[in-house]
Point group: C2
Chain length 144, copies 2
């Protein structure tokens, strides 16, 4: 999905809920879309302030919550106490094998699993916007 489309999605969501568009929100979404990894609030705020120095951090929190609600961003917690934000992937998606001994991370992709996920979600009346699949264990080097 292109930036323009995401912005449109946000506008639509805002309008539905009777909320208003603001330059702050636009600035934040612009900056967020230039990031490539899972960014935490502090880093994001720093980047946002390079564009618009007066933005308060509560606004960034609020906006990221909005983006999450309308399915544009995704919150992730890796257990370090901070929430990190990530783009919702456009189409394809990769999952991870993580070696608990050496920390090696291998990526994989499997259409069958993606398909089964959709099936399960349908049964639960749940609309999936994104997923996380992580396999933990021992890589070939670290044996079992």
């Amino acid at each position: 999905m292109k930036l323009a489309d995401k912005k449109e999605l946000l506008q639509k969501y805002l309008h539905e809920k009777g909320l208003k568009s603001t330059t702050q929100r636009d600035d934040i979404i612009d900056v967020f879309f230039k990031t490539s990894t899972h960014i935490n609030l502090e880093e994001l705020l720093k980047k946002v302030r390079r564009k618009n120095p007066k933005i308060g951090y509560a606004t960034v929190y609020r906006t990221m919550k909005l983006l999450t609600e309308c399915g544009i961003a995704m919150e992730r917690q890796f257990g370090d106490g901070q929430t990190r934000y990530e783009h919702i992937p456009d189409d394809s998606h990769h999952d991870h094998c993580i070696c608990v001994r050496c920390g090696r991370i291998m990526e994989f992709e499997n259409q069958k699993i993606e398909h089964l996920q959709k099936e399960i979600a349908d049964k639960l009346n749940f609309t999936v916007t994104n997923h996380k699949l992580e396999l933990y264990g021992f890589c070939s080097k670290c044996g079992s």
Copy 2:
């Protein structure tokens, strides 16, 4: 793995690290093993205090961290700001749907996916000991 074995695992870990066994830790592990879902600290503390009313919450935090370190428990964050604790699954495993709008969590289980995971891991020469599968999106109440 049986409760007795888990306790032994903890004792072994404590001894290795030069730490000591205490009744509090035993009480907490006992109570934790009677829980069935992902429990947060508050709920766990409440249950623990029914057995041993004087236990402080810092002790529960400290003990759960220990259990996590020695692979008996697992910390999970679903984005509601609280850490929840779960048993390391013995064999079967349940996965989660998480609503990004209202925070509702639904569990599911799917043998086909588990099987596909094993297949993928085999191809990568990877031995899976545990996994996490989380579907994020909108629950039936929150629509799409």
